[in-house]
């Protein structure tokens, strides 16, 4: 366990923009994927000889395929509105982590090879050749963006930095320098079905253990069914829900909700993962292949509905892309949304009076809610605009007497990333993760001091793992972070009438 060589940032008295510190994070780069992580994804095992030519070709292909990318590369007027909106810039002060500057790493090469002025007068338009140094900068800084899209909220042109980061990573993968963390995980999903590499017998054993645990705690036979053909609902959830804390308490909560509502449900050992790291690396084919397992499982099990557990980017992929990626879903019950978020599912039951919660069960807590970036800025929930903000809060408030929001500029569509999203939740980027968590930690500290907040709920496996790890760096307890359905699970009145 390597000793850490960095300092945790101090909370700022007044959260002003930090003075730039050029090169502050130039040393930060994640482990490079090995051939065995690259090849199953269809990428070359190592840096190819003609990488320059291949990179430019790939950029051209992406520009043709995604018109948005070309618009984003052309439209920036350097107004500076994005500069202080990125948690990684706020936490590291490296000027290349200003979203505009990070985009420019790609933009300046785009100008050189794809625009007329850049071809003839590169210096006048800030165009540069693609060199080894530029490629290295891409690798470093496109792994210092969590694709959270907070900067895009403030961009007057709506430039989506995440798409530029995704394009950068896609080019890197195609010349043979992928990121180990993401690509190893995607390869495991292709082979075993989930990010952890948790095989079916281990999953079955784990779920059986949970049933025993809930039985001991509540004296009620709550089931956590696996591969149950003919169940009404297929639940797909991040595999971290099976494996880690506080995630597993969320899974326990989902089971109690299904039990109490009297709706039959099942998990799938074939589609034992809701997460889809294909989106993080910007690769459509891998994203589709990962998602296709879910469609297949739904068909094989003959379910009528698909519900997605607490996972931020899974919900983005499901809500925004599934229809064209793996649809159509004409085999599911049209009376329910496809897909449906677990919060939406629970909210719906509460509205119908089909679920009774005892708020007093959570009276030992004062709760706040961390909006996950992909849920907040890339999706919706329920029938009303802003449902992705309203529904999780309403569910929490139905389960807890004491709820407090963090500062308005840090929640809803303005939410700050946890610091570990977008494929950066890896120990080799710990410095970046700790520093990038600064703005969220500051906002949390404020509600702890002013309102006595004791717990922060989240609906994303990455957020939960990231906070478990970084909270102690900022002097807070790792068990402050809870799953939203953990709160629900505590409060569900079991055994009452359906």
């Amino acid at each position: 366990m390597a000793k850490e060589q960095f300092e945790t940032p101090k909370f700022r008295d007044i959260p002003i923009v930090p003075a730039i510190d050029p090169g502050a994070m130039a040393h930060s780069k994640p482990f490079i994927a090995k051939p065995e992580h690259q090849e199953p994804l269809g990428f070359p095992g190592e840096l190819v000889e003609n990488w320059k030519e291949k990179a430019i070709d790939k950029m051209g292909e992406l520009l043709g395929k995604y018109r948005s990318l070309q618009v984003f590369l052309d439209a920036c007027v350097k107004c500076g509105a994005c500069t202080d909106k990125c948690h990684y810039y706020i936490g590291t002060a490296d000027p290349k982590n200003m979203p505009v500057a990070r985009q420019d790493l790609l933009r300046k090469v785009y100008r050189r090879y794809f625009t007329l002025p850049g071809k003839y007068f590169p210096k006048l338009v800030g165009a540069v050749d693609l060199t080894e140094e530029v490629l290295e900068d891409w690798y470093r800084y496109y792994h210092q963006c969590s694709e959270c899209r907070r900067c895009s909220v403030y961009c007057p042109y709506g430039i989506d930095t995440a798409e530029i980061t995704m394009a950068g990573r896609e080019i890197l993968d195609h010349v043979g320098i992928g990121q180990k963390y993401s690509n190893e995980i995607i390869a495991k999903v292709h082979k075993i079905g989930n990010n952890l590499g948790l095989p079916e017998p281990a999953l079955a054993d784990t779920l059986e253990g949970l049933e025993e645990e809930v039985k001991e705690d509540t004296d009620v036979d709550v089931k956590y069914p696996l591969d149950q053909e003919g169940a009404e609902v297929l639940l797909v959830t991040p595999s971290a829900d099976f494996f880690a804390e506080p995630h597993v308490d969320g899974l326990i909560g989902y089971g109690k909700v299904f039990h109490q509502a009297g709706i039959s449900w099942t998990l799938s050992s074939y589609a034992s993962e809701a997460a889809n790291f294909g989106i993080f690396i910007g690769n459509y084919e891998n994203m589709q292949k990962v998602a296709m397992r879910i469609r297949q499982a739904a068909l094989d099990l003959g379910v009528k509905r698909i519900v997605v557990g607490e996972c931020g980017h899974a919900w983005r992929v499901a809500y925004s892309f599934w229809n064209t990626l793996i649809g159509p879903f004409d085999f599911l019950d049209p009376n329910y949304p496809v897909p449906q978020h677990i919060c939406e599912f629970t909210y719906d039951l509460l509205q119908k009076g089909a679920l009774r919660l005892d708020k007093e069960a959570n009276d030992d807590k004062v709760v706040t809610f961390h909006d996950s970036c992909n849920v907040s800025r890339a999706s919706r929930m329920g029938p009303m605009p802003g449902g992705q903000f309203i529904i999780p809060r309403e569910v929490i408030k139905a389960a807890c007497n004491r709820y407090v929001d963090m500062a308005p500029e840090t929640i809803h569509e303005n939410t700050f990333c946890c610091g570990g999203g977008g494929g950066l939740l890896t120990d080799d980027l710990m410095e970046l993760r700790v520093k990038g968590a600064l703005p969220r930690m500051e906002a949390l500290k404020q509600v702890i001091d002013e309102d006595g907040v004791t717990h922060m709920a989240a609906i994303c496996a990455i957020c939960k793992s990231q906070f478990t790890k970084v909270l102690p760096y900022y002097g807070m307890g790792m068990d402050m972070i809870v799953s939203l359905h953990q709160l629900v699970g505590e409060a569900v009145v079991l055994g009452a009438e359906h």
Binding site: P199, E213, E245, L425, D428, I462
Partner: protein, 110 residues
């Protein structure tokens, strides 16, 4: 990367996890723990042994609740929780204990 114990070389990944599971021996665990200034007590060994048994059966490290339950059975109920496991393995039971047990590092959103 690699390290050496009594003339034998052990290949590892970038973070010091054994590259070949079959290379593991109790001496390897002791060596890795010493590098982290950690002395392995009997209770550490209970965890390490359970991890190895579980891995042999399921080809994956146990989920946290499977682990805490097993440790609770072996060491007493008051020790069957992750707070106790973090006392034993401050870098996190899943990662630090897996490393000493010679298992690969868990991947994913954990």
């Amino acid at each position: 990367m690699a390290f050496e114990i009594e003339g034998k070389t052990y290949e590892t990944d970038e973070e010091g996890y054994l590259a070949n599971l079959s290379d593991w021996s109790p001496e390897v665990a002791d060596f890795m723990a010493k590098e982290d200034d950690c002395d392995l007590t009997d209770n550490h060994w209970e965890v390490i042994n359970f991890l190895r048994e579980y891995y042999e059966e399921y080809q994956i490290a146990p989920a946290v609740r499977v682990l805490t339950k097993a440790i609770g059975k072996r060491l007493g109920k008051e020790k069957g929780n992750s707070k106790y496991l973090y006392e034993l393995f401050p870098y996190g039971p899943a990662k630090q204990a897996c490393k000493y047990a010679g298992l690969p590092k868990p991947t994913g959103c954990v």
